[in-house]
Structures are given as C-alpha cells and as structure tokens.
Amino acid sequence: MQAFVQPGFWVFVLALAGIYGIFALGLQIQYGVGGIMNFGHVGMMAVSGYSIAVLVIKYQWSFWWAAFFGVVLAAFLGALLGLTTLRLSGDYFAIASIAFAEITRYWILNTDSVTGGTQGTLAIPSPSGFGGYTDQPDKILTWISDLLYPIVGDEASRDMAMIFIVWPFLFLLILISSRLQQTSWARVLRATREDDDVPRSLGKNVFRFRLQTLIIGSVFGGIAGVFWALQFALLAPEDFLRIVTFYGWMILILAGATRVKGLIIASIFFGFLYGSTRFLEFWPLSLLSSPERAYLRVFLIGLVIVLLMVKRPQGLFGKRQEMVLE
C-alpha cells in the first residue's frame, strides 16, 4: 500500500491520464458528436508514435518535424479509413476499423528493417548506432524538471515534467472540442446520429460531415501517440494491441458520451487503475504473483466496462439517451 502515498506514483498516474485523456477525447468527438464507433483508434496512436521513432532514428529528422508528420499521417490514415469504410453501417464499420488497426500492427511487427519488428524501436537501424529518439524533447523535459526542483525538491522527475507538457495540451484540446460541439457543424452531426434523412433533406452531405469527424478524432489519436512515444521513449508492437482502444472506450463511457468534464476524472481513474494493480498487495490479491496482478488490470477494465453498460450506460456524468441510442 506504501506505493499509493508516494508522490512518484501519482505523478505517473497523472502523466498517463493526460495521454489517454487526449486519446479518449478523439473517440469522444467521433462517437459523442458523429456517432462513429471506431474500434481501431489505437492504429492512429501506433502510426504517429512509430513515425517519430522511425524518422528520428533512421532518417535523422528533428523530433518536432517527425511529431508533426506523425500527426498528419494519422489524419491521412483517418481519411483513408473513412473514405473506404465509413459508408458502412455502425457494426460493420466497427469491425472494419479493428481490421485496419490490426493490419497496421502486423505491418509494424513484420517490417523489421523499418520498425525494428518484435524488438521494438531500439532495433531500428540507425546511422548513429543509437535507437533513442527523445534527445531533443528530453532537453525541454530536463529544463522543466530543473525549474521544478526548488519547489518540489527530489520529487522533480521526467514524469512530472511530462505532466506540465501533456495537461496543458489536454486542456487546450478539451477547449477546442467544447467549442466545436457548440458550432452548427456539430449540430448537423448530432442530427445525423439520430437520423440520416433529416439532415440529408436539408441538403447536408452527411458522409462528408462524418468523414471530418473521423479525421479530427484521428488527429487527436495521433497527438496522443506523440505523447505516448515521448513518455515511454521506446515502442514495441505489443504496446498497440486492440485492448488499448478499449482503454479509451472505458474512459469515454465512464465520462459519458458527450461530457467533456467527466473525461478528466475518468482519465485519472483509468490512470490509477492502470498504474495501481501492480501495487495492490492486500489479501486476497497478495496471493497473486506480480505478473498475475498485471492481468488483474485487464480484468478490472473489462469489469468496469461490463458493469457500466449494464448498470449505468450513460456513464457517471452522461445523459442516458445519448448512450442507449442505436
């Protein structure tokens, strides 16, 4: 239990919460506004994260340009996914989107010469012989952490510096997303969620509106990927399994489909759940070995999703009618 009183643990939880908050915000725009059930969101995170690693390590790009390119690529892939499969109805699109993310992961897994394959980004062939890609942003992180040192003393860490970068971004993106939701653009989309024919009869191109939503959500997923890559400084294909998308969905349904404020609390809850299962050492969990407790995390996330959908489908903060619609 000691771990929970250590500031280092909570700093990690907050850093993680910020990253997954941005990730879930992308899903919130797609589902909450456009009614799109995207189950392959993790693909966008994988694409932008890996773009950075490959461009910086293999092609010696600057981190910033690589990050920008990664997000653009995520947007591009969102457009590609949408143009090809967004005309399908909800459940078909959901399956197609999973397939899209899995194809991305298999490509990463089996293209050793570019992505390092199963060994992760450390194995990307590099002219300098070094598989790290965070040198440039690390300078900024060290600078922030040095600034924090007089205030928090030895608790100043890279994770804490990450919070100061990720959370302002999260708030900025939340602000943008709330503004978006008040526009006439979002009103049309909300109408398409209920019924396609009404907005269509008003001359709105429903498909184009949905495609825009998918792309914007993908950009958010790409930005989350940039921070993910920065936080962990090493990527491997198994970091981008299907389940990661459902981390985002758990945050989303906990928050409610359209509740921007709920998203912050839900993200922190997720970060806590994700980070804490290693440290739960009271009975009966003390019977489990440490790797078994890591599976406990997956179990708990499954349990939260099931309980929420059965008992409170609107989430902790949401409106019921927005979540139960077909």
Binding site: L109, N110, E292, G302, M309, P313
Partner: protein, 297 residues
C-alpha cells in the same frame, strides 16, 4: 504440384476450424444482433480445459473434449442469465452490446491466465507423425482434425436445418416478432443459440490447438478477426454461409502462399490475408456471398 496439394490440404483443415467457430458467431448475430467479441477467448478456454483434463489429470482425450464443450456451454449459459438477458430487457443498443462482449473477453482472458497459467501447452498427441500424400506432408493431427471437423460441420448443418430448435432459431432470426406470436419461446431459442456457440467455441479451440501443435492463452484472441472475416464473407447472420465462408477463407489464406500469387505471401502475413479479405468484402460486397442487399449496410 505437391505444394498445391499441401496448401490445399492445410487450407481445408484451417477452413474447417474457421467454419466451426464462424457458425457460432453468425448464429449469435442472426438471433441476438450481437457481434461476439469474446468468441476467440472461448476457443482458448476450451483448449485449456481439454489440456487440463487430458494432460494434467490424464483423463481420456475424447472425454476431455466433451467436458470442455460442456464447460463452454456452462459459461455461455451463465453469461446469458446474468448479463445478456438483462441487456435485452434494457433494450441495449449496438454500442452497449459491442462493449459488453469486449468487456467479457477482457475478463475471460485473465481468468484463463489465472487458472491455467501463461505457459505454452501441447496436447498429449504425436505432433510429428506425418503421412506422405502425393509429395505433400500431412500431419496425423491435421488428418484427425479434418475428419472430426467435417463430421461436426455436417452435424451442425443438419441440426440447423432439421432439428426443431434449429428451425425455431432460423424463424426467430428471420422475423423475431412473427416468431414470437407463432408460439416460439424466445428465451429458449436464445439460450440454445448461446449453448451451441459455447460448445462450438470449445470444439474449435481443441481443433486449433491440435493443428498448431502448441498453444498459449493468446490463441483464440489472435484468430478472432479471421473468424469475423469468415462470417462476413459468408453473409453475416447466415449459418450455412458462415460454414462456406470459413472453408473459403482457410483456403484463401493457405493458397495465398503459393508462389504464383506475387511470389507467395510470406506465412507471417497470413492473418493479414484474412483482414484484407474482411476489408475487401466489406468494401465491395458487404452483404457477403449469399446475401442480397435487402437491408441497408
């Protein structure tokens, strides 16, 4: 030539397993409009229970398979009673069903890991015994799986077309309202569907474990999308279609390795062939091989 026979045979074996798993998923969709994301983990569960009984407890292999099928039915029944029935009463939407099925999968996996460990397992059969057939090497286990899987597929097809409950299922899938006013017990149909899909999941899991030789707890999960591809290829909700779709997909995946197709797809890209089939079918023929565009997709 021997290559062709080899891949053709492999494809039939893989395809028959896909067919068995896919028919369970397709039946569930036709009756409940539920895409069962937990189907893959039911395969893993079946394989591990059979392993536990036949290898750890040294019981008879066929007896172990039957018990694992019963266990698959039991778990499905339990979930129907505590979960799915309530969701139907609450008129849960597509998203809720999707997420609950995923949640079940996420819970099932750690339970399997906790009960049976994470090590790689293998059944107590000789996986190295092979036969020579026109230059193709055919493993003993593959042959066994092909025979028993074909028998199972015939049984399933007969069951759906001839048995009373099978007919009720098709009637209910076709028109739920009409079926219930004509005296079909809806809860019984739904329960039967779950039991069948649970039993078939376990069976497919054992077959897959046999063919792979060794397996771990990620086995079923990694096959899930291939099953979806088989289901969509054979028209989602069409049980016979799923059988055909499964066979076809298995053949596609194995034959794609033949060198006449762009020099052959490398074997580690086999799952990608399945995913690509899924996406292509969704793009160009979302109603599948046997559907017509009756409903908007």
């Amino acid at each position: 030539m021997s290559d062709l026979i080899q891949y053709l045979f492999n494809g039939l074996v893989v395809g028959s397993i896909f067919a068995i798993a896919a028919v369970g998923i397709s039946l569930l969709y036709s009756v409940l409009r539920l895409v069962n994301f937990a189907a893959g983990d039911f395969l893993t569960l079946g394989a591990f229970i059979t392993y536990f009984l036949s290898v750890t407890l040294e019981l008879n292999f066929f007896f172990s398979i039957v018990v694992s099928m019963l266990a698959g039915m039991g778990v499905s029944w339990f979930l129907e009673l505590v979960l799915w029935r309530n969701l139907r009463r609450n008129k849960a939407g597509t998203l809720a069903l999707f997420l609950v099925a995923t949640g079940v999968a996420l819970m099932l996996r750690p339970i399997i890991q906790f009960l049976f460990g994470t090590e790689t397992r293998k059944f107590n059969v000789d996986i190295f015994k092979t036969y020579d057939f026109f230059g193709a090497r055919i493993a003993h286990t593959q042959l066994l799986v092909l025979i028993f899987a074909s028998a199972s597929i015939l049984t399933i097809a007969l069951f759906i077309s001839k048995a009373r409950i099978g007919k009720d299922m098709r009637a209910y899938a076709n028109n739920p309202g009409l079926a219930s006013v004509s005296g079909i017990n809806v809860d019984r149909v739904v329960l039967a569907t779950w039991l069948i899909s649970g039993a078939l999941g376990s069976l497919a899991g054992v077959f897959q474990g046999l063919v792979q030789g060794q397996f771990n707890n990620a086995m079923g999960e990694s096959l899930l999308l291939s099953f979806f591809a088989a289901v969509v290829l054979g028209t989602i909700g069409d049980a016979y279609g799923a059988l055909v779709g499964g066979m076809l997909l298995g053949l596609f995946m194995e034959l794609s390795q033949l060198s006449i197709f762009f020099g052959g797809v490398p074997s580690n890209y086999k799952p990608v062939v399945a995913f690509a089939t899924l996406v292509l079918v969704l793009l160009f023929k979302p109603e599948g091989l046997f559907g017509y565009r009756a409903r908007k997709v």
